[in-house]
Symmetry: C2
Subunit: 241 residues, 2 copies
């Protein structure tokens, strides 16, 4: 028991600094929708995804390397961009062999924070690539921090439910003494049979569905293993590991 690696869940970017990342695999979790989109793009053959923190940077880099600039602010396609943060936008016909340069409200910011806190390694996770994430974490045998992106530093349930789904699958391989992880696991267990039916109670659901009509995005983002690849961060890019 005691020589198993440790697993923690950080339920907001504002709490990430409380955990020792230098010794951990950090899983960036932004279920609605950045990490679902990243999984989708890589699953459909994107060469890589370059996460950046601003729209001008996304445009500048994509022009320079011949990539696709994309991103959202507050749930809609960012001003100055043609492509947004929908996983359904990145079918094979658009994204195969392309580089996606992506900026989002929460997920890309959290990834930068993990870098700033010297994470040992960084992957991205969401329901569409749940199995790939779990397989990697079990294989690595390192400490894990499940990093929920939340919404502008506030707690959100969809990211925590995904953390709970990971814990539910891999808990026997880790030492877990962390109320956030216990809560995540309990919430997932209570709703695992119908997460899609639970979704209308989440604040972010209202933001995406009532304001932008993105019901199909929600469905994709909550479906396990429909884009089951492992996005691994290496030298500024998320690549399919």
């Amino acid at each position: 028991m005691s020589n198993k690696p440790q697993l923690y869940t950080s339920i907001s970017p504002a709490l990430l600094h409380l955990y020792d990342l230098s010794n951990s695999v950090v899983v960036i979790i932004d279920v609605f929708r950045a990490t679902s989109t990243i999984a989708s793009a890589l699953y459909n053959g994107a060469r890589c995804v370059i996460p950046v923190d601003s729209v001008p940077k996304a445009i500048e880099i994509s022009k320079r390397i011949g990539g696709i600039a994309a991103g959202e602010r507050d749930g809609k396609i960012a001003d100055g961009l043609v492509h947004g943060n929908s996983p359904l936008e990145y079918g094979r016909e658009l994204i195969e062999d392309q580089t996606l340069v992506l900026t989002t409200t929460n997920g890309t910011r959290l990834l930068q924070m993990a870098l700033d806190n010297n994470a040992d390694s960084i992957i991205s996770g969401s329901f569409p690539n749940l199995s790939a994430v779990c397989d990697f974490l079990v294989k690595e045998k390192k400490n894990v921090v499940l990093g929920c992106a939340g919404w502008k530093d506030r707690f959100n349930l969809e990211d925590t439910l995904f953390a709970g789904a990971v814990i539910d699958r891999i808990r026997d391989h880790f030492t877990i003494h962390c109320d956030s992880s216990l809560m995540a696991e309990r919430m997932y267990d209570a709703h695992r049979k119908d997460i899609y039916g639970f979704a209308p109670q989440l604040t972010h659901y209202h933001r995406l569905v009532e304001r932008f009509g993105l019901i199909e995005d929600i469905r994709f983002c909550l479906t396990e293993d429909v884009a089951n690849v492992l996005p691994l961060y290496q030298e500024g890019k998320l690549v399919r590991s």
Copy 2:
């Protein structure tokens, strides 16, 4: 519906600044054990509780006004003090007509943060005074922020369970669009029949029981309405309202 006041739950002191406190009643929640101790002391006749942020300040003020200096750091009586942060310490024979000058790891710090963020009014809550808290919030008809003290900025479940207990009782009087509140309510509902039986899974339980043997404290802190007074913060003091 729309003209009901709003209720939010802040699950860590590090997130408190995300909420508009200037327009809200802030409930300071530190179940293990500061706000349970505050309820106990006032219930047993203390004139008031003065929360302070350091041991020297607790000693200095208590000497000056003839009060009882008390407090803990990391779960045990702070160096230099005789009295700690156990609600069971403050029976009527010790505390009646006395002033308690209290410093704790998390709860008193959160109270200071609520002051710094210009809270409209501040009360303290825990299971021993659950009904008094709920009655006050319903009567006031103002916005509410349930402020969980956590443990050194980490999320903890006991404070969140108390937030859930409050929401369970008063939800019809408020507009609630907040994933933290939804989570708190669900966790409380799942464990309400045996919170004491759930407690051994909490990290703070291990800190208090395995290291310090404080099982009777835990039991008191999780029992509803055994010290059912309303501690209201006024001019530097928590007084029985």
